[in-house]
Symmetry: C2
Subunit: 234 residues, 2 copies
DNA sequence: AAATTATTTTGCTTTAAAGCACATTTAAAA
DNA sequence: TTTTAAATGTGCTTTAAAGCAAAATAATTT
């Protein structure tokens, strides 16, 4: 009972497909895609499950995370409007991570075979995709660096810088455009909820943030960026 | 004074270009590529420098690493015969990491423009490249997980599993096909040389390795893999 | 071969971060 | 509103890993 939206009529102008795929290719994807709605907390795909295709986020916030033998979850990537999910398993048969909606999310699903024929028939699309992959790869490698070199203060600051980069800040409320628990922030930063609290205390003293109830206002995004500046190029 | 080898005459059969590029496209790359020899320790490219193109490793061992504000270097990737270097900066203008030869290395250099025209004229090549990127991305994301969830014992074991995966073990000598100092192993594992020594002590007691002078023989590769098994899928 | 230098190993100390338990606050349910 | 449950915050303890310095070993140079 879902109402089928064609790509050309779709309002999501950040969608990777809409921005990089045109004419016949777009019509082809459009006719074969499925779109799904996910509620906050829903698992979009789960690690170990057989991969069937690729997801494009039309609207929403998603975390890609992994379970662990010791219980702590680790977020390996955050994704938002226009981003691609599940593309890392291309050529493989299983998802390696869990993708979980952080807010109500609208995603498009494209089967691997459709995706492949689009790439082969439209080299321009394939090349754009390559650029996207290159960017993701660079970001992820930087993340390896961050996790191995930053101390807790820096990791928590970086988590907010990253969250701001992907989801942005509401200009009125000054809060992140996604609601996260201490535990969820810890899973991004690679630490524990207690440590997140302690760092937030410090950040508040330094007037970088302001907490009201459970809301966190970002008062000085640049100040947070300065904490991790040395780890970035230029 | 370098002797120019055409791709079709090149002995390196693991080269990504040779395996995935044919006919005119191969001839085109062949005519425009440059090949370079690097000695062990040479910097192939350096972070912050302007990127001009992409490297294909014909033969050799390379680490991609980053400097840090606190002094510790972190290796974000190991690469060997047939692998690609510098592809993560596609669409960008600066290298984000240092690529350093771990042994004498023979690489091919292809300018970005040549690379781009090859992708656009051969969608099959672009798609294969996409699969390569997907694999790299997955591996790198797993590495984020490892660095944030493993303890020292596991990190050091994983370093050897990774080294084995990329460079392999000499079947006679049972040593890795690349010589590394404690510091260099530590930079892969994300720890200090002292901790590496301590873990090697343990591994030796457990008959997983055997040290003779500075050589490390891998007696039981599977045993090392078992230490990190829980972090892998399946 | 002897001397010098560099690397690795080892014991010990320090430290940063995790873990725990309990208090407090906030949110949800009755 | 009151009660219950969940999440957050805080002080204190524990622990894993880093850091340091000296000793031992290996590699280089003279």
């Amino acid at each position: 009972m879902r109402s089928r939206i064609e790509c050309k009529d779709c309002a999501s102008n950040k969608c990777f497909v809409k921005q990089n795929c045109f004419g016949e290719s777009l019509a082809n994807i459009s006719s074969k895609k499925n779109d799904n709605f996910n509620k906050k907390g829903d698992v979009i795909f789960r690690e170990g499950n057989t991969m069937r295709g690729i997801y494009f986020i039309m609207h929403g916030a998603v975390k890609v995370a992994t379970s662990s033998p010791i219980g702590r979850e680790q977020v390996v990537r955050l994704a938002s409007d226009g981003d691609i999910l599940g593309h890392r398993v291309l050529g493989n048969d299983k998802y390696y991570f869990n993708a979980i909606a952080l807010s109500d999310t609208h995603v498009c699903f494209v089967e691997t075979s459709v995706f492949k024929e689009t790439c082969l028939s439209s080299p321009e699309f394939a090349y754009r995709l390559l650029l996207f992959y290159a960017l993701e790869l660079r970001r992820t490698e930087l993340r390896v660096k961050y996790h191995s070199q930053m101390n807790i203060r820096e990791k928590v600051a970086e988590a907010f810088v990253y969250l701001n980069e992907i989801f942005g800040i509401d200009p009125d409320k000054k809060t992140l455009n996604v609601e996260l628990s201490r535990k969820e922030i810890a899973d991004i930063a690679g630490t524990t909820p207690e440590q997140v609290t302690r760092q937030l205390n410090d950040f508040e003293e330094e007037k970088l943030i302001l907490r009201t109830k459970r809301d966190i206002q970002i008062l000085n995004a640049e100040g947070l960026e300065n904490i991790v500046r040395n780890y970035k190029i230029n």
